[in-house]
Symmetry: C2
Subunit: 284 residues, 2 copies
């Protein structure tokens, strides 16, 4: 275990368990914030929320290779451990779990967790490997720490529902808490991948949130969802996005909506701007 | 929670956690013996071994539907909860976890754990659904109890290695302990499915173990493995078995053997006798 500005950084599951066992002995509640690093103000908010009520907070920093396809950005995903560590302590975090790939995927590793239900469609249509990688690594992170609660941002809304489904189904003894998306002043959802955007793309990017907000407003105002979604697609096309999907779904199951009046609703969007793929979502 | 002959029987994960939390508070080590019920002397031995050193032992009794294919014996698998409970206390067990199907697979259940490596081939060639069902339910049983150790019989040797692989890979904080197969006086490995055998089949069934013992002896005596296996197959055919497989594998990985002199070796067999499918295995 090493420390930077007095924040313990643990690299192995054994060391993490020892650290957490010490906290447990002292009677602390333990919370976890799993991340891929490249921390921004959204992550900081999660860490601060996790620490509420005096919990000890582990922030994990692990860029998980198994959730990237060969053509995706695993190699270029932003990595800045020193910068991440510097953000964690001020946010109220108590330790960093930053394992190497060999610690998470030791020789002979052969296990995968697949989730159906909320994992079907949307992201899975475009990243078929994604949720399998996410579910497996999140299970291992949670089981390595066994926190009382773990916090995830609603920016990755489908991911949040998939993790909640898995944790319920397998009986992982951790409460999964979703935290509202943190946005830039112009509405763009904070994301580590925003760093990929050129200045011109960055100027256009907030359209994604605007379109969601306009579609939500229209649907609330009794505009037929199909009509609102067509208008949203048109706006995004015109702004230079290539839309993967813009859909209205049941907010709890992500199933297609049968009765807009009777179900909790969520709009979800994924679109590419140049080489950058952005996602966002909004309650209706 | 109900009790029979003073043995607590818990039906829900919540009640199990409460029971285990109480034991933890008292400083007890906790052990688990997952079973599908229809307990025999082999299970009793596992329970007794689990209790060694003063551990509190949970025996789970759950006939897991997801590890049976449609054409298999889920419907007819022997069920006798009262008989099981009567065997557990004398063996040294402290509680029974006997959940219903809806407790293990609540509405919307959508998660599955798949294992490669040791799960490939052998049983998977004949029961392709099997280890996925086993891995998922064992993970949930372990996570519902979080025992320090869990015991499994070596009779299901491939299953033992698959569970060990999964537990290592996911970081489930439980030590997996294999226990030597318990046999009838004539060598037949104890199994709940032995109850399916007609008297004539029961008389022939010990051949399975005899063939393994002879093949192991031959291989130790430098008979080429292929030759020993052909002889074993012939003996089983002649005795009326339909052999699914009789194979020599690396005892740690279950990979095909490259160098019989340098690897730990295990013989594994599966064969059908009438409508009953029997498996067994032996160290060389």
């Amino acid at each position: 275990m090493s420390t930077a500005s007095s924040l313990p950084i643990v690299r192995t599951i054994g060391d993490l368990r020892q650290l957490v066992a010490g906290w447990r002995k002292e009677g602390h509640v333990v919370a976890m914030v799993p991340t891929m690093g490249a921390l921004h103000a959204g992550h900081a908010t999660l860490i601060t929320a996790a620490a509420e009520g005096g919990a000890r907070v582990v922030t994990s920093v692990f860029v998980n290779p198994t959730q990237f396809a060969a053509n995706e950005d695993f190699g270029t995903y932003p990595r800045d451990e020193a910068g991440d560590v510097a953000r964690i302590a001020p946010a109220g975090g108590h330790a960093v779990f930053a394992p190497g790939v060999a610690e998470m995927y030791p020789e002979g590793f052969a296990t995968a967790i697949s989730v159906g239900g909320p994992a079907e469609g949307l992201e899975s249509d475009y990243r078929p490997h994604f949720f399998r990688g996410v579910a497996t690594v999140v299970a291992k992170l949670l089981l390595s720490c066994l926190p009382d609660r773990a916090l995830f941002g609603e920016k990755d809304y489908q991911q949040l529902l998939v993790i909640r489904r898995m944790v319920t189904d397998l009986g992982i003894p951790t409460e999964i808490i979703g935290h509202p998306t943190i946005r830039e002043a112009d509405g763009l959802a904070m994301s580590s991948r925003n760093a990929y955007l050129s200045p011109a793309e960055r100027a256009v990017a907030p359209k994604l949130h605007q379109v969601l907000a306009e579609a939500a407003e229209a649907i609330r105002g009794q505009v037929p969802p199909a009509e609102a979604l067509i208008a949203g697609n048109r706006t995004l096309d015109a702004a230079g996005f290539k839309v993967d999907y813009l859909e209205l779904r049941n907010a709890r199951t992500l199933a297609p909506v049968a009765d807009t009046g009777a179900e909790p609703l969520r709009l979800l969007v994924a679109a590419r701007l140049g080489k950058t793929r952005l996602i966002d979502n909004l309650a209706v």
